[in-house]
């Protein structure tokens, strides 16, 4: 049995929804206290696309993500260690989460090969062969210094079938043990394992059970949000949360769009990350409760409303859709105006969910959310099914 360790995280459930599996909780990390459910914006290379940390604080963002693959390459772990860690380097004094680097490696590098030892790949600089092992990933993440770090997992694309999936699932467990052993800072960094198993319920169950045996501060659900159908997606999320302990946070990686967030909160997930809101901002798109505004479209040229009436972000307080329409395609720095709004939108959505769960009015929140987004009640079938599985039946008003 794994040794009991004191974790660098405390998770307190404030309220549980009496209808769905949703929870509203308080997660205390070394650098910040985070209300969950939480959405974590992605600041890939140690910066959130043109925003200074102050602007994130103004939005009351408590935790953001950094990518180990990118940071491990530039500026590199040694420089980050010398700088006093990523917090110090980028002047972000709240919480950070880093991923293991494995996913990007597999998705970005053509010649990645996975062996028991680790992920073998060709260095993008000089084509020499390199190896990312569980130990190596943890050491880099120890130097970056995030509050939450991820195990290196053997991640397979969600559409892969056959014995490879099972192999990856068992290897992920073995790699977790290696990560835990290599972890040099359990007192101030929380190492999360990642539940794998593809789209096979039995494998997901087995994986969750195994990971639960380890003494870890929280759990991530990985290998989803790839090319799988939404139908399969929600079922696997549901099984995963069924077999994970209640009293620890569940982080659903790579999710996502507003609808996905609402449904997966109902299915019992607490933490989310996705590049979507910041990426779509760079394409000139603004997220609102009634849908996405594609601002370069001519219909916005003389639209003098803010992106979202009532949104407290600095973009909505100062600028109109017409103005943003004018600059989105011309000034790259204008994207940061949209990034601020989209991040504000995501954070406000999570805050509203947290509050409604605390008030035990989450089903009403869900109905209202779907009504705004789908005024003709053409709700996506998968969302109807997923919510029905946790006792919420979307009504056509």
């Amino acid at each position: 049995m794994a040794m009991q360790r004191t974790h660098a995280l405390s998770f307190k459930i404030l309220a549980e929804c009496s209808t769905t599996k949703a929870r509203a909780s308080l997660m205390k990390l070394p650098h910040a206290t985070v209300d969950t459910p939480v959405f974590m914006p992605v600041g890939t290379q140690g910066t959130l696309k043109g925003l200074v940390p102050d602007q994130l604080r103004e939005l009351d963002c408590r935790i953001i993500l950094g990518n180990t693959y990118h940071l491990g390459h530039r500026p590199g772990p040694e420089l980050l260690e010398k700088a006093g860690g990523l917090h110090e380097f980028m002047q972000w004094d709240r919480a950070l989460l880093t991923d293991s680097g494995g996913f990007q490696m597999v998705s970005l590098l053509k010649l990645a090969e996975i062996t028991e030892e680790g992920v073998k790949f060709q260095s993008p600089h000089d084509s020499s062969e390199m190896m990312l092992t569980p130990e190596h990933s943890i050491h880099i993440q120890n130097k970056i210094g995030a509050d939450i770090i991820m195990q290196l997992d053997d991640v397979v694309h969600s559409c892969v079938t056959g014995p490879r999936v099972e192999e990856a699932m068992y290897r992920t467990i073995r790699w977790l043990d290696r990560c835990m052993k290599a972890h040099g800072r359990p007192h101030d960094q929380n190492l999360f394992p990642i539940v794998q198993g593809g789209l096979y319920p039995e494998l997901r169950k087995k994986c969750a059970e195994e990971l639960t045996k380890r003494d870890v501060p929280g759990f991530a659900i990985g290998g989803l949000s790839g090319g799988e159908s939404k139908d399969e997606f929600w079922k696997i999320v549901n099984i995963s949360t069924d077999y994970l302990p209640k009293e620890k946070p569940r982080y659903l990686m790579g999710v996502g769009f507003a609808v996905d967030l609402v449904v997966c909160v109902a299915l019992g997930c607490d933490m989310f990350d996705c590049v979507f809101p910041t990426r779509t901002a760079r394409f000139g798109n603004a997220l609102t409760p009634t849908g996405t505004l594609i601002l370069h479209r001519p219909e916005f040229a003389e639209d003098f409303q803010p992106i979202e009436k009532g949104c407290p972000c600095s973009t909505c307080k100062n600028y109109t859709r017409a103005y943003l329409h004018g600059i989105v395609e011309n000034e790259p720095v204008s994207c940061s105006l949209l990034t601020i709004h989209n991040v504000a939108y995501q954070l406000r959505l999570m805050r509203a969910m947290h509050q409604s769960i605390v008030e035990d009015a989450f089903p009403e929140f869900i109905q209202d959310f779907f009504d705004k987004l789908y005024p003709s009640a053409d709700y996506p079938q998968w969302a109807i099914d997923a919510l029905a599985s946790v006792n919420v039946h979307l009504k056509k008003s």
């Binding site: 530039r74 003098f304 000034e331």
Partner: protein
Amino acid sequence: MRFSLRSVSHCGCRVGTLSCTRAVNDGENKEVETPLCTLYTKKVDMLKRIEKLPPIVNMHLSSLADYTEALNKFQHGVGQFTALQDFLVYISVHDTGIEIPSGYNTKAGTAVWNKAGKKLIEPQQFVKCQEAFRPTFYQALSDSDTDKNSGKKRAMKAVDRTLDFLDTILELHKKSERLRDVGVFGSVEGGFHEEARMRSARETAARNVDGFVIEGFYAQNEKNKQIDVEEIKDLCNKVFKILPEEKPRLMHAVWSPDQVVMALELGIDVFDSCYPWLVTERGGALVFSFQYHNNSENEREARSTDGFEISLKDKSMFEDFGAPVPGCSCYTCQNFTRSYIHHLLNTSELLAPVLLMIHNFHHYFEFFESLRSSLKTDQFLKLKTLILEQRPSQEPPK
């Protein structure tokens, strides 16, 4: 709009006050000290993190022309539209910080350029645009497509066209209710041909304009091309003898600090600030000193930089955890390290120009503050010496 010349120093520098009525909304009167530089805006939300912003923002017809319709419907003017309603708005014809292809102006109008391409603006359309923009003052449409190599005929053409446009514009401006309190600046053209220049100066001075834009020396078809005041000194002196001294003189250029101090002696009142933006674009941070009180022998030796800026792209910055410019009180230097900005430049992150812009504008605006205070206390020559001492030995990288 009124200008009162307070003093002219023995070296030729003018100190004055521009009094502008904000045409939109409050009709409030604002007084602005000259010499000053206008604010070159890159449409970011980070302006509030720069202290001591100039009170006048310089927008460009070239980028605004496409929004005439929308601004007409908006009705409240371009200042409010861009969330810059606290500023006085000056609209020039071109954007000094970009390259403009040569040879596209005609007798009927002037070609302006933006990312979408070329737009030929005629005087009537020009006035309609200004009515929609509702600035504090604007530069009348002009033909400035001349340079050192232009022939006399071309130079004269530029002068004549510009006067022609000016007359049409003034006529329409007079009749326009919306442009009632808005100022008009006439442009003095003429390339490097004395006869053309003199004609332009005389004729423009004879019109009822609120100030003068001196241009037509550099056709702007080479980005980053720095002005050389030495080259234009003689012609400018002759022009200024003709222009009324109680009207302000504005000049657009890539104003590096050494050129600024020389242009002040020439008698220029208003400059633009695209120079710090261009420094930002190339990953540079302005470091030049304008502390004329402290220019001792020791200080001179301590200055290790060659030139007015350092490059944050330089490999030596990789592990340098000092402030971009030690001792600088700006938001960027107070919070971030050279190493971090170097990393942002290296990874082409959007935050790099944002942080560098904050520093470079802060530095440049403080420089102008020190220019004004040196003139008030008769220490200008000390400042001029200090600035000229710091000239780079070679051109900065493009």
